[in-house]
Amino acid sequence: MDAKMITFGETALDKLLQWLRSSGEPKDIDELLRQYLELLSKLVMEDSE
């Protein structure tokens, strides 16, 4: 996926929600942000390879 298509806070939010649900407990905003960045990075880098 081209990073230009990313809308921060909207793109891959469902995946972030899925990760949050699977974790089973509330997460701090820092941890949530780290996970979200990794999701976006994975989304972009996988397609570009």
Binding site: M1, D2, A3, K4, M5, I6, F8, G9, E10, T11, A12, L13, L16, L17, L20, R21, G24, E25, P26, K27, D28, I29, D30, L32, L33, R34, Y36, L37, E38, L40, S41, L43, V44, M45, D47, S48, E49
Partner: protein, 711 residues
Amino acid sequence: MTVAPTTGAADQPTLAEEIYHLMVAQGALFALDAPIRQSLPNLAVFLAPRHQLDVNAMREAIEVALGSDERFQREEHPDNEVRFVTSRNGVYVPRVEIDTHSFKQRLQDPDKPLPIDDISVVVSTSRPAIMAIEPVFISDYWQVQAGLATEPFAEEDEFVDDALIAAELSEDAPVDLPVVAAPVEAPAEVVAKAPVEPLAEVVKPVAPKAPVEVVKPVVAKAPVEPLVEVVKPVAPKAPVEPPVEVVKPVVTKAPVEAPVEVVKPARPSRPPVERGTIFTLADGTAIDLRRPTKELLAEHGAVLAQALVDKLEQDPLRRIVSFGRRYFPEVNVINLGKNDLRKIRDYLLERGEPLLDTELIADVFYHNPRQSDYEGVRFSLNYRLHREKDFEFVGVEGASLWSTKGLPAIGGKRVKAAEMGQITSYLVEGLDDSLLEQSVEAIRQTGSVTRLLTFFEWEHGVLPLDASLAALLPGPVLPDQRSAVLRFDSPQHYSQALVEVRYPTGNRGGWLHGLEEFFHAHLVPGALVTLARGQETNMFTITYAEAAETSDRILTFDEKKNKFAFANVSFFAAVDTDQLPSQSRFARLNRLKAFPMGERRKAELILEHVIETMGEQIGSRTAPRYTISLDDLFVGYNTLRPGSLALIQSLLEHGPEFALDAALPGLIVYTPAPGSTPTEEAEAEETTEETPTDVQPTRRRYGGRYADDDE
């Protein structure tokens, strides 16, 4: 020689009839058409004594009799045993299981099927009972936007698709096909080995369109020569430079009886597509996702976190909800019913003070921290209570405290919140000088703040939330949080006090209250107190420098008479004598008027009143002028209301009535505006006639030690 049966031919029907009745009796409970079997030896053994015959003779007689009877069928089993079969119907007929009357068969294979072109035959025109969800077509563009699909290849990649199709076709082709299509850019290599007879294969690439090589072997019978492979690539027409490799003919010695082996080329990998890895935030910040996450967080963590928080709050579905800094899926949040809320409120009222969320979970819901869903329940409790108007969050980070309506007010009601917020507004107006002696870094490093108590702070148990205290105390967790409740321990007296922190809002300052009892019991104005962090985020300690017992007449406030007065007080705390409002040092302090709190928010009015009351009159009665030192002014000003030295200096600088006289260094000269009548001056003149010993203060509220002296 066989013995002839004694039963004659005339007896055979009788014998057959007897055996039939015997077998029918045996199968009396069988179905009419069910087979009834009996073996010949059994019959012979059974009937021989009855007919007084030898078993063998009886066996022969039975065999003859039943063989001629139509009701019996003879069966020979593999163990040479002969059996006779009959049924209650007389003749056994095997049952036919074919069921031609099948609804399923008639439905699916009707004798006269209707024509399929008539759609009404197969599609009902009536609306089905259950509405089917029809798939909604979403264009590729939006799927790419949402990351659900990849972008279609560009036109220059078209030949790649053709090559992929060709490769797949070649994979699907059977091995014995003579034509092998080698796809795409990968070098095609075909090695055909002679099967039984030596043969020669000429492999011709056929791929005029693109760099696709199609290799076509031609099998020739004649030559005895071993296998010859020729691969001739055709130059591609496409402008793209394909990595065409020409495989030179390889001549191999013909292996006899070697099977034909076709080496398939490796499946061509999709060419790498260069895509952008940088996206831009709303504020223009470019984020490169190729960089490690740690670097991104270190550089743009705050901006990204705020952007993510904003987006999550703007999500119309509210899929992820938050409480403070913690986030949780909304679907996982547990609901609290009215009964649950009532139980929580009743428990808070029973305990009489704000309680931690962990206490509520344990005591009201009996939930164990070792349970796997404990954190989820804790988040749910906080999230739900925050949305209820009967509950108020008064916690800090790491300690979620909840208060409710009806709990006793912390710190009493002598000072109203609205008035105190206006009085401490100077703190948010840039007139806070509390960091002159202690920096924020030092406070955070040591975890403590030391300050002198003023009379107002001591009297009302109120501490302005200046920058030094703000650096020490935890901030609000929620954006709309207006207060927090902290617990202050006194290790010197083994006592505790609940202190409410009122956070500044808008143009109103913040403050702490709830220490009135502790101040009156152990301290006096001018004492040096130290506030320090405790083990928990909501736990603090308050200590003071102890000293030998000292007795002095210091300023107190008589609530009944609403007047200031001096009284004998014994205390054990080290004090700054310049700040101690003693009668010997500040004899005129008791002349200050106890303005109502609403009036005390007027900083200029209080300043003028203090100077007129405590200052020296150096002018005439018609043209009064007053002088006062800044230190005395500070003590007098902080008797009526809290105010920093920066505030007082700002008021002096901006007031035209105030000036520094060169003839009187260190003193402030106040010249009231003409026409203003010194109303308080007359009262002050009257009160000067009173001797300090005449003042009889009332008993203190908290049983201070000086109360006994007054009596």
